[in-house]
């Protein structure tokens, strides 16, 4: 059972690894990397959800017109979520640049000015 579900489990593990980095790392850049890993895990999950055993890519050019194909929607969703991830990461990194400019450190523990 576990073996057959391996792709799902791997993407879940990726999400867990990213969550670990986000929650337990103190370096801001590492936290951003954590967010990025979670995004990757979710994207991988979306792609694996759309797989049909023995299916071909859902593109008709130069391929057998009656072939069995994988589901196209998850691939479209993944495309969307990748671009959203890119935008998020760019903005997060900009904030990190400015935090470093103000506090000269990337350690999350040292920059706790906002309390309560």
């Amino acid at each position: 059972m576990i073996l057959g579900q391996m792709p799902f489990v791997v993407s879940a593990l990726l999400v867990i690894v990213g969550l670990y980095a986000l929650l337990f790392k103190r370096n801001l850049i590492k936290m951003v990397i954590g967010v990025s890993i979670i995004e990757t895990g979710v994207n991988l999950f979306l792609v694996t959800v759309g797989y049909r055993t023995g299916g071909q890519a859902p593109i008709y050019t130069y391929s057998d017109p009656v072939a069995f194909r994988v589901l196209p929607t998850p691939q479209a969703l993944t495309l969307t979520s990748i671009v959203i991830g890119l935008a998020t990461t760019a903005l997060l990194l900009s904030f990190v640049v400015f935090i470093h400019r103000h506090y000269q450190t990337l350690d999350a523990q040292k920059i706790k000015e906002l309390k309560g």
């Binding site: 593109i59 495309l79 900009s94 640049v97 400019r101």
Partner: protein
């Protein structure tokens, strides 16, 4: 960052960046036929500019790409995409009016370039938007972090 990298990287970059841009445009153009599309092609083109930025430093793009021009182009791309979506408002927002119409992109054979209705046009709009968007983010961030080093 200003001086760029070694002569080897610079020379190789001179050879390949035009090829990368061309490949990116190919991916955008054939988005409705082969794997790819506006986003992927736009990202490929942007990666060529990223390569130039890395190899030559910010000086490499001086005079070639103007930040304000890039931003205006991005807005034009976004507006074009929105306009194409508005084109079908007679039926519904995002209705594909050109598909199967027999006109410019309305060929009924899905295997030719001039098919897909609004799809190729949207691919171009999004491709323009993505490449200019990513390149402007890159340029802004590089210039911004260089100012930080000066301070």
């Amino acid at each position: 960052m200003n001086g760029g990298m070694s002569i080897i990287v610079k020379t190789v970059t001179r050879f390949v960046y035009a090829l990368i841009i061309m490949f990116g445009f190919y991916v955008i153009m054939h988005g409705h036929l082969t794997p790819g599309g506006g986003f992927q092609g736009g990202a490929v083109v942007a990666s060529a500019f990223a390569l130039v930025l890395v190899a030559f430093g910010t000086a490499g793009l001086k005079g070639v790409l103007n930040r304000h021009l890039l931003q205006s182009l991005e807005e034009v791309g976004a507006l074009a995409f929105l306009g194409l979506a508005f084109a079908g408002i007679g039926t519904a927002f995002f209705y594909n009016i050109l598909a199967n119409s027999g006109a410019v992109f309305g060929k009924t054979d899905p295997a030719v370039l001039a098919s897909g209705g609004l799809l190729p046009l949207m691919n171009w709009a999004v491709g323009l938007k993505v490449m200019t968007g990513i390149v402007s983010i890159l340029i802004i961030m590089i210039i911004g972090s260089r100012e930080e080093a000066v301070e």
